[in-house]
């Protein structure tokens, strides 16, 4: 289930949105023992100028994304705005049966979006 984005088509400034993946919905619940699903989340939102600048009191950070947002605000061109993408991800572990009747615990990296950023 995904959290509906608010505020127009791109849903406000770039941030992580709630997205719950149910293994039943992808048909894996027969062989995945645990978890039943997990919070994967996703990134969505505008990367226009204010969003790319660091928060109040943050260090002056001129970077590629800020430069692109500046250029776009001065003269919108084909390069467009920076993208709203995962900035920090975390793993999950999945417990499942394999076809040799083994019980397997496997670690999968980069499965949960914790933070998003403009890049």
């Amino acid at each position: 289930e995904a959290q509906p984005s608010v505020g127009g088509s791109h849903g406000g400034s770039c941030r992580a949105r709630r997205l719950y993946v149910s293994f039943r919905e992808v048909g894996w619940h027969h062989w995945v023992i645990a978890p039943r699903g997990f919070l994967a989340n996703y990134c969505q939102g505008q990367c226009s100028l204010p969003a790319t600048l660091p928060g109040p009191g943050g260090p002056p950070a001129l970077n590629h994304a800020v430069l692109r947002a500046l250029m776009h605000s001065a003269a919108p061109g084909p390069a467009g705005l920076p993208c709203c993408v995962p900035a920090r991800l975390s793993p999950i572990s999945v417990l499942f049966f394999d076809n040799s009747d083994n019980v397997v615990l496997r670690h999968y990296e980069d499965m949960v979006v914790d933070e998003c950023g403009c890049r």
Partner: protein, 228 residues
């Protein structure tokens, strides 16, 4: 005119998904007769960050488990398998043979392990039943384990004292019956013997399993590799 190079057929989505999951073929589903061993639940609850967030008591606040390490077993690894022993075949001793207790041959199917995976722990777990396990007093037995191909080539590489058959008997295979730097075989065939030291009762092997931890260097930083 140059013949257009044939583009390799794009892998079917299901095939690429299985590859991403590290599975050979699509799982059939939960086998009827297989329950989930408590150790696997414990390891899962300890490692699953979202589970840990839900129950922080299991993981100290702020401590995120290292991705390629199995904290509870103290070894590097990102895949843990609980492999049931198959074909537990007991061979009773010849009447004239000096030893009077049976020996067992066990087979573990390890075909689901990828060739690139490095073993970091292989723990044999044995449950005994019968007279020896029911005896209230502790006895003392000697467990010996050897790979089937090595039997007869000298004393068993793994021999350990067993004080009681009432609890599961565990034996670490890596470095004894299984060379540290050996890759994971497609199947592991072991010969076990349990000899009572005094004139005590023999044990009856009821169940055997293997807890195998491996590290996939393609997914884990080489520094996390198991110590040789």
């Amino acid at each position: 005119p140059p013949v257009p190079a044939r583009r390799p057929a794009a892998p079917r989505p299901a095939a690429s998904l299985l590859q991403a999951l590290g599975l050979h073929d699509s799982p059939r589903g939960a086998p009827k007769s297989r329950s989930v061993p408590p150790i696997m639940w414990r390891l899962f609850r300890r490692r699953d960050p979202q589970e840990a967030r839900l129950s922080p008591r299991r993981t100290p606040p702020g401590a995120t488990p290292r991705p390629c390490h199995v904290e509870e077993l103290g070894v590097a690894g990102n895949i843990v398998r609980h492999v049931p022993g198959r074909g537990v075949r007991a061979r009773t001793a010849e009447p004239s043979a000096p030893e009077r207790c049976p020996t067992w041959t066990l087979l573990f199917d390890l075909s689901s392990v990828e060739p690139a995976e490095l073993p970091s722990r292989a723990r044999l777990e044995l449950r005994f039943a019968g007279e020896g396990a029911a005896a209230e007093t502790d006895g003392s037995w000697e467990l010996s384990v050897a790979q089937a191909g090595d039997v007869g080539a000298g004393p068993a590489p793994l021999r350990q004292a067993v004080a009681s058959l009432r609890a599961p008997v565990r034996a670490e295979l890596l470095g004894a019956a299984w060379a540290h730097n050996a890759s994971v075989p497609r199947s592991l065939r072991l010969v076990l013997a349990l000899r009572p030291r005094a004139a005590g009762p023999c044990g009856h092997l009821a169940e055997a399993s293997l807890l195998l931890v491996t590290l996939d260097p393609r997914l884990c930083h080489p520094l996390a590799r198991p110590r040789r």
